[in-house]
Structure formats: structure tokens, C-alpha cells
């Protein structure tokens, strides 16, 4: 019989302890060892020692945890939790940027400056418009004097006018001979007074010089 033959090993004692604590269930094959435990003083003593050691460990760990859960710590923790909950309920907050000027005198000053800048720009525009108008009028009078002088001048201008595309276009109805002669005249004659001297030195001179040489 088991109870007579041998003592229980530690595994069986641990299983018994777990069963006593409600953390495990003993099965059918454990019945005989448990009967032995009930009758064997040595095994019972060993079991009690093991049980006491486990209970001491449990109490030590529980005391360690309790020491860390002081009322003070829990109160602080509770306070922080509720503060975080309040922050959740109130939604996100916009923090003012530290360097940004506050509303008041600091903010009013740039606004006044902006107004002055706008007023100066408008005034400058008006002055510019007025001055422009004055200059334009004086220009008109100057140009009328020029046209009057031009009208009074002898009619040499048509021959000296540079041919333009517009002129060519307008004169499409003119006879080909007249058109060609106008071109020749235009290319032969210097268009500006300042260039006449150069023209005289170059084209006219060369033509004059070349002619005798060519004829020779």
C-alpha cells in the first residue's frame, strides 16, 4: 500500500498546497498520496514547513507591494489621473507663443505704422498723377510748336523721309518706276544730317575715286 511504502515527494506536496489554495484541482490518482499525508506525521510536518515557507513568501511580497502603495502616492496618482481626465474633457488648449506681443499697446503700434504707409502710398500716387498730367500738357504744347515749325519749313522732307513698310504699303498704287526711284533715292541719300559727312567721305568719295580708276 502507498501509505505504508514511501513518503510523498515535494511535487505532491506542492500540488496539495495549490489544491488547498483553490489554484489547482487534485485528480483521482492523487487520492492515495493524500491519504498517506493524512496518516504520516513526517510528511505532514514537511507539508506544514513548505506551506509556511510559501505563506511567508506571499506575505513578504504583499507587504512589499503595500509599502509601495502608500496613501500619499495613491492620492497623488488619483489627482494626476483626474487632471488628465479633465484635460481630455476640456479638449486641446492653444498655448500663446511666448515671444508674440500681447494685445494692447504693443499690437497697436504696427497697425498705426501700416496706416501711415498706406496713406503715404496713396498720397504719392496722387502727386504722381498730378505731376504726370502737368508734364503731359507741357509736352503737348511743345509738340504743337514743333509741328507748326515743321509746317513752316520748306518741303524737302518727303524726299528725305526713310521708307517704311507703312509707306510702301500705302504707295502700292504708285507706278513701279516711281516706286523704284524712290527706293533708289532713299538708299542713296543720307537719312540723317549727322551721317552726311561720313556718307560724303565713304560712298560719295569712293564713288568719285572709283570712277576715274574704273574709267582708266
Amino acid at each position: 500500500m502507498f501509505a505504508v511504502k514511501r513518503h510523498l515527494d515535494d511535487n505532491l506536496l506542492i500540488r496539495r498546497y495549490l489544491a488547498d489554495r483553490g489554484l489547482a484541482a487534485l485528480d483521482a490518482q492523487d487520492e492515495a498520496p493524500m491519504r498517506h499525508l493524512a496518516h504520516c506525521a513526517a510528511c505532514e510536518a514537511r507539508y506544514q514547513t513548505l506551506r509556511a515557507a510559501f505563506e511567508d513568501t506571499r506575505e513578504a511580497a504583499a507587504a512589499d507591494a503595500d509599502a509601495a502603495c502608500s496613501e500619499d502616492r495613491l492620492a497623488h496618482q488619483r489627482e494626476r489621473i483626474m487632471r488628465r481626465i479633465d484635460a481630455l474633457q476640456s479638449g486641446p488648449r492653444v498655448l500663446p507663443f511666448p515671444a508674440a506681443p500681447q494685445h494692447g499697446q504693443g499690437a497697436a503700434q504696427p497697425r498705426v505704422i501700416r496706416r501711415w504707409v498706406a496713406a503715404a502710398a496713396v498720397a504719392g500716387l496722387l502727386v504722381g498723377l498730378g505731376a504726370g498730367r502737368l508734364v503731359f500738357r507741357s509736352g503737348e504744347t511743345g509738340s504743337s510748336e514743333v509741328t507748326a515749325r515743321r509746317d513752316a519749313a520748306p518741303t524737302l522732307a518727303p524726299a528725305r523721309q526713310a521708307p517704311t513698310m507703312r509707306a510702301l504699303h500705302v504707295e502700292t498704287g504708285v507706278a513701279d518706276d516711281q516706286f523704284l526711284s524712290e527706293i533708289e533715292l532713299a538708299t542713296a541719300a543720307p537719312r540723317t544730317r549727322e551721317l552726311r559727312a561720313i556718307y560724303a567721305f565713304t560712298l560719295e568719295e569712293s564713288r568719285d575715286v572709283a570712277r576715274p580708276v574704273g574709267k582708266d
Binding site: D10, A24, D56, T57, A60, A61, A63, R73, I81, M82
Partner: protein, 211 residues
């Protein structure tokens, strides 16, 4: 232990009721009522939550942060709480996940930290605390010595076995509850618990022989 279990059950039922009130107030848009009900919930379950977090994290500061985060998560997701289930199971699952995330983050941090600094979880150990009232200095010293040995024996266990031992053996959670918390099956929790006790027994024996 039965007293602890009984008070835990009472707290659990109270927590479920408080959680229902918070949920109803949040759904109704009554923010001040929700806040008050949640304050009750925090007050009634905070200590147990802190103990669980301590067992899982072994560091009071980390446990403190984890409990705070867990309560904030619970409030944020209170509308998804199923009232037909006990609040405790829902809460402890969130707490366990939060603790696990913190452990992972801590391990990542420790990889980059220089070895040799004082570990924060060893600060404020039992030896540094004031002796319990009513004990002579000698008794207090011996008691602290013994307690340190016992806690040292627990520390020799592998992490998973240690967590399960603390949750089942010390905190009085059932293997099913611990399984829900840790994501293990109930039978696996039982196996780990058995092995943890066997190793603890060996460690305690070794300590007694050394003495």
C-alpha cells in the same frame, strides 16, 4: 487571504457598477457626472491596480505611470466596455497590455543605457524602509533580512513564472483571470504556477542551507 479575496470581489462588483455609471454618463453627454463616477471608480480600484502593475513591472514609478495610463485609456474607451462582463477582467487586460508595452519600451531603453547605473526598481527596497511599529530594532532587522531573502527567492524565478506566481499566489487571482491578463491558457498558467512554486521551494531550501 480570504479577506483579501472577499474585499477584491466586493471592489470588483462596485467597480462594475461605477463603470456602468461612467458609461451611461458619457453616452448621455453629462461630463461632470461622468467625471464624478470615474473618480469613484479610480478610488475603489486604484490600489488593486497599483499592486497588479507592481507585480508586473517591479518598479513603483513605472507602475504608477502604467496605472495612470490605464485609467485614462479606460475613460477614453469606456463606451466600448461590455456591461455583461466584469469590469475587473476588462480593466486588468488593459493594464496588463499597458505594462507589457512599458516593459518592451524599458528593454529597448536599457539596450542603450550604460550598464552599472543603479536600477530604479531596487531603490526603496524593504531594507531601506522604516521598521514596523511595535518591533524592536533587532526584530525589525531580522524581519527585514528574512523578507529580503524571500523576495530574493522570488527574483530568481524566470519572468513569466514570477509574474504568474505573484498574480496567483500573492494577489489571489485565479488561473483563468491570470490567463486572460497574460494571454495564456488556463492550463498553461497552472503549469507555470506549479513550476514557479517548485523553483521557489528549491531557492528557499538553498537559502536555508547557506544560512
Amino acid at each position: 487571504m480570504p479577506a483579501r479575496a472577499g474585499s477584491a470581489e466586493h471592489a470588483a462588483s462596485g467597480c462594475s457598477e461605477a463603470a456602468r455609471r461612467v458609461k451611461a454618463a458619457v453616452l448621455a453627454g453629462q461630463t461632470s457626472e461622468a467625471r464624478d463616477a470615474f473618480a469613484d471608480l479610480v478610488g475603489s480600484y486604484q490600489r488593486q491596480a497599483m499592486r497588479l502593475a507592481l507585480y508586473l513591472l517591479r518598479n513603483p514609478s513605472e507602475a504608477d505611470e502604467a496605472v495612470q495610463d490605464t485609467f485614462v485609456k479606460v475613460f477614453t474607451h469606456i463606451t466600448s466596455y461590455r456591461e455583461d462582463l466584469p469590469f475587473e477582467a476588462w480593466f486588468t487586460r488593459i493594464l496588463a497590455n499597458t505594462c507589457r508595452d512599458r516593459q518592451k519600451a524599458k528593454r529597448r531603453r536599457e539596450r542603450w543605457e550604460t550598464i552599472g547605473f543603479d536600477r530604479p526598481d531596487q531603490a526603496g527596497s524593504v531594507a531601506d524602509r522604516a521598521p514596523a511599529p511595535g518591533l524592536s530594532p533587532e526584530e525589525a532587522l531580522l524581519g527585514d533580512e528574512r523578507r529580503r531573502e524571500l523576495l530574493g527567492a522570488i527574483d530568481t524565478l524566470p519572468r513569466r513564472q514570477r509574474d504568474i506566481l505573484l498574480l496567483c499566489h500573492v494577489e489571489g487571482q485565479s488561473p483563468r483571470e491570470v490567463g486572460e491578463m497574460t494571454g495564456l491558457t488556463e492550463s498553461t498558467v497552472r503549469v507555470h504556477l506549479f513550476r514557479a512554486l517548485r523553483k521557489l521551494r528549491t531557492a528557499l531550501e538553498a537559502g536555508r542551507v547557506r544560512r
